[in-house]
C-alpha cells in the first residue's frame, strides 16, 4: 500500500504540473477546453491526494509499523482517537494534510466558478496548482510520508503525550483549512490582475472562501488557546509565541480584507488596497506554514532543524516579487471609482479599522521577527510578552471601538441627526458601565481593562439597538411574533447580522481577555498534605496524594500520580473537590527499567472549577527527583539482579515483576503522601473568551450561509450576463452586470 501511496503522490505532482501548464495555456490561447482540462487536473489531484491520505490514515489505525511514520508517531497503546490524529503530528503527515486540504478547497472553488469569470479562472487554476506542486514535490523529494522500514518493530514510540488532547483532532485541520483557504482569494486576485479584470467579481466569487478561511483560522487559534489553557500552557492561553503569532498574522490582514472588500463591492473604492491585502494575507498564510517548520525563531513549538527552510524562502520571495510586480503593473486599472466623501462615514471607519488591523499585523510581525532583524544588525535580541501587550492593547481598544462605531454610522456622510439617532443609547450605556465599575471599585486601578469593558458595552448595546430597530421594522411590516421577526430579519440580511454577531463575539472575547489578564491571581506553591493556601477569593487544601496505573489491552499505558485538593470559601466551607494529576508514559513497551517511566514526556491533567464568573485552575507536579526516582532506581537494580540470578527467566516473568514493582512504586507514593508542587490560578471571566469564540463562530456561519433567494438570483444574473454577451457578439464590450449590483444591498 505504501507504494500505492507514493505513486499517488508522484501522480498528483504530475497532474499539478499539468494544471499549471494547462492553466497558463488556456489563458494565452483563450481556449475554454484547455481551461476545463486544467480544472479537471485539480479534481484529479484532489482524488489522488485523498487516496494517499486514506492509505496513511488506515496505516495508523491498523498499527502498521512497517511505515516509519507510524512507528515514530503511534503505538498500540495510543487510543484509537489519537491514532487517527497522530497522522498530522509529524512533519510529513502534516504537509500531506496541508496539500490535501488545499486540493479539496481548490476543487470546490473551481467547481463553483466553472461557468464564471472565464478570463480569471485559468490563471487562478494555475496558481492553485502551483501551490499544490510546491507542497507535493516536498512530499515526493524531501519528506516522504510513505517511508518503509526494513524490519518493522512490534511496537511504536506512541503519540507524544503532550498532543493527546481532543483539540489535536480539530485544531490542526482547522488551522490548515484556514491557511489553505486563504490561498483561494490569493489565486483569484492574481488571476484578476493578470487578466486585468479588477472589478468586484473575483471578490464576490471568493468572498465565502475568504470568510471561511477567516473563520476556520480564527476557530483554530481559539482552540489552540483553549488547549494551551487546559493543558500545555500552565494556565496561559496566549504567550506571543512565534508560531501563535504566525497564525494571527494572516487572520489580522484577512479580517481587514473581509471588511474593505465591502467598500469595493459597494463603492468601487480601495482596489489597490484590497488586492494588496489579499495578496499579503496569502503570503502570510504560507509564511505561517513555513515558520512552524523552519526553526529560524525560538519557539515553544520546536520542530528540529528542518531541511525545508530553503524551498520555503524561495517560494515566499517568489510570491512577494510576483505580487508586487503585478500590482505595480496594473495600477492603471486599479484606480478608485469614487473618493471618500467624509471622514464621518462608514467608509472612513472601515478604512480606520483597516489601518488599525494592518498596524496590529505589522506590530506582531515586527515583534516576531525582531530577533532576526536585530541579528542582521549585530546582536540578536528578543521582545517578550510584556512588549507585545504594551503595543497591542491600545490597538485592540481602538479596534473594538471602531467595530462598535461602524454598524451605527451612515454610508457616505453621517449627519448630525444620524449620529444622535444611532449613538445616544450606546454611548449612554458605555457611560453607565463606566460609572458603575468605578463606583463598585477594584476596577479603576486597571485603566486598560476598564476601557475595554466600557468600549465593549458601547459595541454590544449598539448591536442590540440595531437588532431591536430592525426587528421592530420587520414586525411593523409582517405582524410576526417577536422571535419570528428576529429570525426573518437575520435570514434576510445574513451577512449584515451575522457580521454584527461576530462583533459581539469579539467584544465578549476581549472582555474575557481583559478581565482574566488584569485581575488574575496565580501562585506556584509547594504543599504538604493538610496545608491550606489562599488564592484570590478562595482557599485550597491539599488533602492527599493519589496514584493509579492505566492499562490498555494488557499493556501499561501510563501511571498517573496526582493530588486531591479541596476548594474552600473564605469561611472554610468545602465548595469543590479537584483531582489534578500528571501522567507518565512508558518509553519502551512492553517493559523497560522502572525509572524509564519518568524519562518521557509527562502530561499534566489540569483540573478546574470553571464558571461564568471565575475559574479556579489547579495543576500538580509530583516531586519525582527526591522520592520517586531513587525508589525506582532501587527497583531497577532489583529487577536486574533477578534477571542475572536466573530468578526471572522468561519474558513473562520479567514483565510480571516489572508490573509488580511499578504497582508498589505507585502505592508507595500514595502512602508516603510526599509534598508536591502546585500551580494555582484564580482567573475571572475566562469562560467569556470561549463563549465569545462560540458567538464568533455562529455569527461567521450565519454570514457565510448562502441565502436561498440570493443563490437563485445569482443563477439568473449569470444567465442574463451570458445572454447579453452572446447578443453583443464576442467583443466583450457589453458591461456585465456585476454581482453586487445584482444582489443589491445584501
Amino acid at each position: 500500500m505504501a507504494t500505492l501511496g507514493r505513486a499517488c503522490l508522484i501522480l498528483a505532482l504530475g497532474v499539478a504540473l499539468y494544471g499549471i501548464g494547462a492553466g497558463i495555456a488556456a489563458w494565452r490561447l483563450q481556449r475554454r477546453d484547455v481551461a476545463n482540462s486544467a480544472r479537471r487536473a485539480v479534481y484529479a489531484m484532489a482524488l489522488l491526494l485523498t487516496i494517499a491520505m486514506v492509505i496513511l490514515e488506515v496505516a495508523f489505525l491498523r498499527d502498521d509499523f512497517s511505515y516509519a511514520l507510524v512507528t515514530s508517531h503511534s503505538s498500540t497503546t495510543t487510543p484509537l482517537f489519537y491514532k487517527a490524529a497522530a497522522v498530522w503530528s509529524s512533519q510529513e503527515g502534516s504537509l500531506l494534510l496541508w496539500v490535501w486540504l488545499l486540493a479539496l478547497w481548490s476543487s470546490l472553488v473551481l467547481f463553483l466558478t466553472r461557468n464564471r469569470m472565464r478570463d480569471v479562472t485559468p490563471i487562478a487554476t494555475a496558481v492553485l496548482a502551483g501551490f499544490a506542486t510546491f507542497f507535493t514535490s516536498l512530499l515526493v523529494f524531501s519528506v516522504s510520508p510513505f517511508e518503509i522500514l526494513g524490519s518493522p518493530p512490534v511496537e511504536g514510540g506512541g503519540l507524544n503525550p503532550l498532543l493527546r488532547h481532543p483539540s489535536m483532532m480539530i485544531h490542526p485541520p482547522m488551522l490548515y483549512s484556514g491557511y489553505t483557504l486563504f490561498t483561494v482569494p490569493f489565486a483569484f486576485a492574481i488571476g484578476a490582475l493578470v487578466a486585468r479584470r479588477v472589478d468586484a467579481e473575483w471578490i464576490v466569487a471568493t468572498r465565502r472562501f475568504a470568510l471561511g478561511a477567516w473563520l476556520f483560522l480564527g476557530i483554530g487559534i481559539i482552540l489552540g488557546a483553549r488547549w494551551s489553557y487546559a493543558e500545555l500552557g500552565w494556565g496561559g492561553y496566549w504567550a506571543w509565541d512565534p508560531v501563535e503569532n504566525a497564525s494571527l498574522l494572516p487572520w489580522l490582514t484577512g479580517t481587514a480584507f473581509i471588511h474593505s472588500i465591502m467598500i469595493q463591492e459597494k463603492r468601487g473604492m480601495l482596489k489597490v488596497w484590497n488586492v494588496s491585502l489579499v495578496l499579503t494575507t496569502g503570503i502570510l498564510a504560507i509564511l505561517g506554514t513555513f515558520l512552524v517548520r523552519s526553526g529560524i525563531l525560538d519557539s515553544i513549538h520546536a520542530f528540529g532543524a528542518s531541511t525545508l527552510g530553503v524551498p520555503f524562502v524561495i517560494l515566499i520571495v517568489g510570491l512577494i516579487v510576483l505580487s508586487v510586480g503585478l500590482v505595480a503593473s496594473r495600477l492603471d486599472v486599479l484606480r478608485s471609482e469614487h473618493r471618500l466623501d467624509s471622514l464621518a462615514s462608514r467608509e472612513a471607519v472601515f478604512l480606520f479599522n483597516n489601518l488599525v488591523l494592518v498596524a496590529l499585523a505589522f506590530v506582531v510581525f515586527f515583534g516576531t521577527f525582531f530577533p532576526l532583524i536585530t541579528e542582521a544588525m549585530g546582536n540578536r535580541r528578543n521582545v517578550g510578552p510584556p512588549w507585545f501587550n504594551q503595543v497591542t492593547v491600545p490597538l485592540a481598544l481602538a479596534l473594538v471601538g471602531l467595530a462598535g462605531i461602524a454598524p451605527l454610522i451612515a454610508w457616505r456622510k453621517a449627519t448630525r441627526a444620524n449620529l444622535r439617532h444611532s449613538f445616544t443609547i450606546p454611548v449612554a450605556s458605555a457611560l453607565t458601565v463606566l460609572v458603575v465599575l468605578v463606583a463598585v471599585g477594584g476596577v479603576a486601578h486597571k485603566p486598560k481593562a476598564l476601557a475595554m469593558f466600557v468600549i465593549a458595552a458601547f459595541l454590544i448595546t449598539g448591536v442590540a439597538q440595531e437588532f431591536w430597530r430592525g426587528t421592530r421594522a420587520r414586525k411593523a411590516m409582517s405582524k410576526d411574533a417577536w422571535p419570528v421577526a428576529v429570525v426573518s430579519l437575520v435570514r434576510r440580511n445574513r451577512r449584515r447580522y451575522g457580521g454584527y454577531l461576530v462583533h459581539v463575539g469579539i467584544a465578549t472575547l476581549f472582555v474575557g481577555v481583559a478581565a482574566s489578564s488584569a485581575f488574575q491571581h496565580a501562585r506556584d506553591v509547594q504543599m504538604k498534605p493538610g496545608d491550606v493556601t489562599k488564592i484570590g477569593a478562595h482557599q485550597i487544601r491539599y488533602v492527599k496524594s493519589t496514584g493509579r496505573i492505566d492499562n490498555k489491552d494488557g499493556r501499561i499505558e501510563r501511571i498517573v500520580l496526582g493530588a486531591q485538593l479541596q476548594v474552600l470559601d473564605k469561611r472554610g466551607k468545602v465548595l469543590h473537590t479537584l483531582n489534578p494529576t500528571r501522567g507518565f508514559y512508558p518509553q519502551n513497551a512492553p517493559f523497560a527499567p522502572v525509572s524509564a517511566m519518568f524519562d518521557g514526556e509527562p502530561t499534566s491533567e489540569v483540573r478546574m472549577v470553571a464558571g461564568l464568573r471565575r475559574d479556579v485552575w489547579t495543576a500538580v507536579a509530583p516531586d519525582i527527583n527526591s522520592v520517586l526516582l531513587p525508589t525506582a532506581k532501587r527497583y531497577d537494580a532489583a529487577l536486574r539482579k533477578g534477571i542475572a540470578d536466573g530468578q526471572l527467566k522468561t519474558t513473562e516473568e520479567q514483565v510480571l515483576a516489572f508490573r509488580a514493582l511499578l504497582g508498589k512504586l505507585v502505592e508507595g507514593y500514595v502512602e508516603a503522601t510526599p509534598p508536591a508542587n502546585f500551580r494555582l490560578i484564580d482567573s475571572p471571566l475566562v469562560a467569556w473568551i470561549w463563549i465569545g469564540g462560540i458567538i464568533v463562530f455562529l455569527g461567521g456561519l450565519i454570514a457565510m450561509w448562502p441565502a436561498p433567494d440570493a443563490a437563485r438570483r445569482r443563477a439568473s444574473a449569470g444567465y442574463a450576463a451570458r445572454v447579453a454577451l452572446e447578443l453583443a457578439g464576442t467583443d466583450g464590450k457589453v458591461e456585465r452586470p456585476t454581482l453586487e449590483q445584482e444582489l443589491g444591498r445584501v
Binding site: A68, T71, S72, S89, S90, Q91, S94, P153, E155, G156, G157, N160, L162, L163, L232, W234, G235, V292, R293, D298, I300, H301, A302, F303, G304, A305, S306, T307, A359, V363, F366, G367, F370, P371, T374, N379, R380, R381, N382, V383, G384, W387, Q390, V391, A522, D524, V525, Q526, R582, Q587, N588, E601, P602, T603, A621, D623, N625, S626, N677, R679
Partner: protein, 136 residues
C-alpha cells in the same frame, strides 16, 4: 480649502503620524528587549542588572528543588559545549522540563547566580516534527 490641497494636507498628517508611531515602535522594542545569549557568552560578559534571554540545555542531574517556596535551581550549558551557568528560578515549570532539554529563559545576573524571571521558562518540545524518529 480646495480638494487637492486638502488631500495633500491629509497625506502629510497621515505620513507624519505613521513615522512617529513607527519611531515609537522601534524605541519601545529596543528598550523592552533582552539580548539573546548562550551560557558561555553570559559566563564571560554578563553585567549585573541587565536582562538577557538565555538559550541552552539543562545540565544533567543539575536540577534541584530549593524547598518551601524557593523554586528550583539548575545549570544551563551551551547547545554544543560544556560551559554552563547556574540559574535560580521561581514560577511555572513546563511539563517537558528536565535534564538535557533545550530551554529559553529570561534572566538577570544577581551575584554569581542568574535569576530567572517569573514564568519566563520555556522548554522546547522535542518531538513534534523532529526529523529524528523517537527511540523505540
Amino acid at each position: 480649502m480646495d480638494p487637492a490641497r486638502k488631500r495633500t494636507v491629509r497625506l502629510v498628517v497621515a505620513l507624519s503620524a505613521a513615522v512617529l508611531l513607527a519611531g515609537a515602535l522601534v524605541y519601545t522594542s529596543f528598550s523592552a528587549s533582552s539580548e539573546a545569549k548562550s551560557p558561555s557568552e553570559l559566563a564571560t560578559s554578563a553585567k549585573a542588572g541587565e536582562r538577557y534571554q538565555l538559550t541552552g540545555k539543562v545540565v544533567d542531574k543539575s536540577i534541584q528543588q530549593l524547598g518551601g517556596d524557593g523554586g528550583i535551581e539548575f545549570r544551563v550549558r551551551d547547545r554544543d559545549g560544556s560551559t554552563s551557568v547556574p540559574v535560580r528560578y521561581k514560577g511555572s515549570v513546563p511539563d517537558p522540563f528536565r535534564d538535557g532539554r533545550e530551554i529559553i529563559i529570561t534572566v538577570s545576573k544577581k551575584g554569581a547566580d542568574f535569576v530567572g524571571e517569573r514564568d519566563s521558562l520555556i522548554t522546547k518540545c522535542p518531538s513534534k516534527f523532529s526529523d529524528k524518529p523517537q527511540a523505540v
